[in-house]
């Protein structure tokens, strides 16, 4: 997924603190995790139940 940088409006308010990139990494580290099969299975089950 895309890593989206700080917005101009945020930069204008104060300098980007050191931890800001950590916050994005925290988020991105989860986005980049392999997706457990249970999620695809859940949607497949729901999909099949609709048929």
């Amino acid at each position: 997924m895309k890593n989206i940088g700080p917005e101009p409006s945020k930069r204008g308010r104060q300098p980007t603190p050191d931890w800001a990139s950590g916050l994005r990494r925290l988020y991105d580290s989860v986005v980049d995790e392999p997706l457990p099969d249970s999620f695809a299975k859940l949607l497949d089950d729901l999909d099949n139940a609709d048929d």
Binding site: M1, K2, N3, I4, P6, E7, S9, K10, R13, Q14, P17, D18, W19, A20, S21, G22, L23, R24, R25, L26, Y27, D28, S29, V30, V31, D32, E33, L35, P36, S38, F39, A40, L42, L43, L46, D47, D50, D51
Partner: protein
């Protein structure tokens, strides 16, 4: 007027009625397939948002599953062309708030998993670990935490975050500003809570904040 996000937020909950008429017949043809595809694509983001909100990965994934079930049930309320991520975040957020009222997330922070996260993506910031980040984040009042997660981590604009949280843009800016100030102060003076202490602080802050947040959400529900 950012209608797409407003509209996405309007369909914020599978539990609440939505005045607008459905645009997609559930379980039919191309639209159903495309809904499933789009929903699948946002799952990693839902997991990241949930993890940020409630700490423990297993609990967060349960929350995502719950949100997916609600999203599926409410799929006729999703308007094609609007942001699936924003729409599902609203659903996940509402599920989270509901679960919070049932105390599902009490003292549930998983330190070992967070420690694992911190060493994975190399850090150029020395002593700041992602687990520190996460613990500090979890001490914030819920509404500030979610605002910071949405804008500072999820990359949503203030407008989009406001639509998701059903509040004014100025409110989101204020919450993000306060959250940033708190975290910066924590990082600077080293007052990042350690382990279980953080859970207690976080839980107290969350519970204290929940009612306010919930009331505000209801007041804004018509926006």
């Amino acid at each position: 007027m950012p209608m797409t996000d407003q509209q996405a937020a309007a369909g914020r909950s599978a539990d609440s009625p939505k005045p607008d008429s459905p645009k997609v017949a559930p379980g039919t043809g191309v639209n159903a397939a495309s809904f499933k595809r789009e929903l699948t694509a946002v799952i990693p983001h839902l997991r990241a948002f949930a993890r940020g909100l409630c700490g423990r990965p297993d609990v967060a994934d349960d929350l995502v599953q719950e949100a997916l079930l609600k999203a599926w049930a409410a799929q006729e309320r999703f308007e094609p062309g609007t942001s699936m991520r924003a729409w599902t975040f609203v659903i996940l957020r509402n599920a989270y708030l509901t679960d919070m009222r049932r105390n599902r997330f009490r003292a549930d922070y998983d330190e070992t998993v967070a420690e694992r996260i911190l060493v994975a993506p190399a850090g150029q910031e020395g002593p700041l670990h992602l687990s520190d980040m996460h613990r500090a984040l979890l001490t914030l009042p819920a509404e500030r935490r979610e605002a910071l997660l949405l804008v500072g981590a999820g990359g949503f604009s203030y407008e989009e975050a406001a639509a998701i949280c059903q509040c004014a843009v100025g409110t989101i800016k204020s919450r993000v500003g306060r959250a940033r100030a708190t975290l910066t102060a924590m990082m600077e003076d080293g007052s990042i809570p350690r382990r279980a202490i953080g859970d207690v602080i976080a839980h107290d802050a969350i519970m204290e904040d929940l009612q306010i947040s919930s009331n505000a959400a209801h007041e804004r529900a018509e926006v």
